[in-house]
Amino acid sequence: MNSFLKRLKEFPGRAASWFRSLPGRSARFFRSLYERAADLFASFLNFFKSSNQNVRASLCLMGLGQLMYRQYGKGILYLAIEIGAVLFFSLVGFTWISGFFTLGTIAADPWTGQEGDNSVIMMLLGLFAFVILILFLVLYVSNVKDARKSQLMVLEGKKLPTFRDELKDLLDKKFYKSVLFVPILGVSVFSVLPIVFMILIAFTNYGPDHIPPNLVDWTGFESFETIFSATNIGSTFAKILGWNLLWAVASTLVNYLLGLLLALLLAKKVVKGKAFWRLFPILAYAIPGFITLTAFKFMFSMGGPINDIISDLGGTPIHFLGLDNTWGARFIGLMVNAWLTVPSTMLLATGILSNAPTDMYEAARIDGASSFRQFKDLTLPFVVFATTPTLITSFINNFNNFGVFYFLRGDIVPSEGYTAANDTDLLINWLYRLSIDNNYYSIGAAVSLLIFLITSIISLIVYVRSPAYRKEGTFR
């Protein structure tokens, strides 16, 4: 606490010093940038001077150097790539790239059959053309490097590998490249491209008035300005973010601790018929989440069994999930989420506990450590160490937990002081309302980009500071 206060007191002085040093640091940064560029240019000149005519030929035309070294298979392949790229860019590539910047100029009119530009497709095609361009540049550099490598091998008097040798290498020394090629391609197409596309959408006006066949335009940071502006959207975002962080931390802790306690309880020797008792949480886990959530919504509804019991006992029914019951509904959400998630944590903890080093417990018992002490100093560190990555995954899943409040309270909007959201909505629920219910795709994309930034930063910080990262070899 004292150290925190000390650092707090020092903060203004440090901040002033940081700002004072800013001009000098900026100058150093740009000087180093200039120096690096100059170094790069010098090394290129050096490379060019020391290269023979074959390497220079490959610089001018892909594969030519290889052909001059009589590496015909590889040379023809590189040449074909260059011809393919030239054809692609001259036929469609440059049009796609140009379309990426304009996002279309003629709006289609499906009523008259007038064909027009589809901004979203143009953005996708432009993105694709950029990927092809980058891929081409990578292959171009590899072509030059390959020619240079051949030059050096010849200088050293080594025999150049044949095309067949290099193909064999792909199944032997470079097998990892062959194996990883398809997954990397898959990840690029199915994960990276959609993420980049989503990021780009955040910088457009893709929304209710700008859905194809209407044209979409680039709008820069307007979506972010709307989110952070002083309107209700900004305050809604801040309120939801605050609740979202609290929810993610609370639900991760509750699920984790309850799962661990359940696993410890069922691991006790005194418990008879362990398999039987473990069956119940697994059953809860096995039922699809949306069915469980719908059932819970019914249970807590005005006509549900819980209110029936309250009425039968002479009480006044409670609108558990009502507009006014913010914290009650949030608590119900937390518990329902625990119902859905604790079984998986329990199973995980059960597996980890079965590998716990028994000798350490033996030593602790001999030393007279209490059960709580053993839990605190042995069980918890051991389980936490093994499950930190799972904890981070669980945190991210909870941060983006769409189902719980969508099913429990999705029909209530808006709460007082919120725009297009209620007070139990998480950012992901709000994102859904904005983009799916209201077609505000650009705002939705901006929100999802912010979610991405928040979850990645938190996950990285937690992981880097965790024992699983810092003391990797502890339990090996």
């Binding site: 009119d109 499906p110 009523w111 008259t112 059959g113 589809n118 006006n205 929304g207 209710p208 008035d209 859905i211 194809p212 066949p213 209407n214 709008t219 307007e222 979506s223 709307t226 309107t231 209700n232 959207i233 509804s301 005005m302 006509g303 549900g304 209110n307 009425s311 006044t316 029914p317 409670i318 609108h319 999930l321 009502g322 507009l323 006014d324 029909d411 209530i412 909007v413 808006p414 007082e416 725009t419 297009a420 904005l434 219910d437 209201n438 505000y440 650009s442 705002i443």
Partner: protein, 502 residues
């Protein structure tokens, strides 16, 4: 492209041969020498507007059109009957209509532009008109609709839009849908004819006006704590909206065409909302959320509710539950119980509201309830490759015979005057209400989707106020507070529609 090359000369030929039209439809106008006149849409213009050119020329041959019909129509076999009849009628052209085989509530925006959507869709007017802004449904050449004059102008209005400049019609009305009051005749007091029929018209007063229904609900609940009079989910704005509309509230301004003017709080809407709040006091707590809606058949059958409000498509579900209840009570065979259920479950339009705005004061008389309703109809996707065949299909489906058959099989009120005549008293009443503008038709703007949840949440909160909220915490115990609540709701809806626009 190939198709375009064929259609364009055909269109030119068709312009020259004015009056040829498409087979199966007769042009009712002869051309006035001007352009398309939205005020007289039956008149075929001499110069065909570009948006209607695709309907000119000869009917496509040997094509298949995909139709997205209503889920209930599929279930009871009406869709199949309609497709068979149409396919038979257009056999010589080789046109066949088939089920689009997609969910009833699929979004045309996700399919149409990519060529995977249906050619023809059957939906409520708010859904169809929600597609207009993005040009997903195409304007219809009403001069090729031979039965245009058989459908009331108010119903056509539900399918008109000038959102993109010119005023066009985007759907052909088939039937009218609105909330009705369903009640159990066998739960009426034995002496109802003497005590509860002041005007001696043979209809119990408690299903004719809200004041008597309120009084009856009080008596019934006081006599047995587990029984109620009228109960329905007040959080469903489709039904609870009538409390506001009857007293001057509205959804959008300028005849529901201006979504910058949200009018839930306008006129004396707060008085209507106060009636809803007061009535909630004698309803079951299930009226606060969806519980009453979800349990309507069981609670009507068990007699827990004397009456409830729902749409006619739920009629068969309630009948089935009631017949099962009668069987359990050993009131006869399955057929007898079914007949008894049909005899006892009756429906009437929503009861009249007191002009005084007070459920205990009927000295000023009553005014008809203005209930929200919708006009279901057919529309054609802008991306249909066979617009002429699709037009032929919707004209066929809107014909007298098919609309009557739809009524027989589905029990829904027709929009055609001639079909409504033979469809029974209630259908006729609903038709007349549409004709007179006495049904508040769902606005034909896509921004309507932003209205349901906030307005429903307000009514749920209003009901909660008088049912379970402690006196000290009540939020709407004065008209002023209700008015403020309605104003906030209108503002929330405005924000959802406009504030997010980048």
């Amino acid at each position: 492209m190939k198709e375009k090359r064929i259609i364009l000369p055909l269109a030119v030929l068709a312009i020259l041969l004015v009056g040829c039209g498409e087979p199966g439809a007769s042009s009712t106008g002869g051309g006035s020498g001007g352009g398309y006149d939205p005020d007289d849409p039956t008149m075929k213009p001499d110069v065909i507007p570009a948006v209607f050119e695709k309907f000119e020329g000869e009917l496509e041959r040997n094509v298949e059109i995909k139709v997205l019909e209503n889920g209930n129509a599929d279930k009871v076999g009406y869709s199949e009957e309609l497709f068979d009849a149409f396919n038979e009628a257009y056999k010589e052209y080789g046109i066949t209509a088939v089920d689009a085989n997609i969910g009833e509530y699929n979004d045309l925006a996700q399919m149409g532009p990519y060529g995977t959507g249906p050619d023809v869709i059957y939906q409520a007017n708010d859904i169809i008109m929600g597609y207009v802004d993005d040009k997903l449904v195409t304007p219809l050449p009403t001069y090729y609709m031979p039965d245009y004059s058989k459908i009331p102008a108010t119903a056509w209005k539900a399918y008109e839009s000038a959102a993109t400049g010119e005023r066009y019609t985007f759907g052909i009305p088939i039937n009218v849908q609105t909330g009705l009051l369903y009640y159990r005749a066998d739960l009426l007091p034995e002496n109802w004819e003497a005590e509860w029929d002041d005007d001696k018209n043979g209809i119990p007063d408690m299903v004719e006006n809200m004041n008597d229904l309120y009084r009856f609900s009080q008596i019934r609940h006081e006599a047995n704590n587990d029984e109620y009079g009228l109960v329905f989910s007040l959080n469903d704005f489709y039904f609870s909206g009538s409390f506001l509309f009857t007293y001057g509230g509205y959804v959008f301004g300028n005849g529901d065409t201006d979504d910058t003017d949200i009018g839930l709080h306008k006129g004396d809407a707060a008085i209507g909302a106060n009636i809803a709040r007061t009535f909630a006091g004698v309803m079951s707590e299930e009226c606060i959320d969806d519980s009453a809606k979800l349990a309507i058949s069981g609670n009507m059958a068990s007699g827990k509710y004397f009456a409830s409000v729902t749409t006619p498509d739920n009629y068969e579900v309630i009948i089935s539950a009631l017949a099962t209840e009668y069987e359990a009570e050993r009131k006869g065979t399955a057929e007898e119980c079914d007949a008894l259920a049909r005899e006892n479950l009756l429906s009437v339009p929503f009861p009249d509201f007191p002009l005084s705005g007070d459920l205990e004061d009927d000295s000023e008389g009553f005014t008809s309830a203005l209930t929200m309703g919708g006009i279901n109809g057919f529309a054609i996707s802008s991306y249909s490759k066979y617009p002429k065949a699709s037009l032929a299909f919707i004209n066929f489906a809107a014909s007298y015979e098919m609309v009557c058959r739809r009524y027989e099989m589905l029990g829904i009120a027709p929009c055609r005057e001639d079909a409504a005549e033979i469809a029974g008293e209630l259908s006729k009443q609903l038709f007349d209400k549409v004709d007179e503008g006495a049904i508040y038709l769902m606005p034909s703007l896509s921004s309507l989707s932003q209205v349901w949840s906030p307005a429903g949440s307000f009514f749920g909160d209003l009901a909660e106020d008088n049912l379970i909220r402690p006196v000290a915490e009540r939020k709407y115990d004065t008209i002023e507070k209700i008015q403020a609540g309605l104003e906030t709701t209108s503002q929330n809806i405005y924000d959802a529609i406009h504030i997010l626009g980048v």
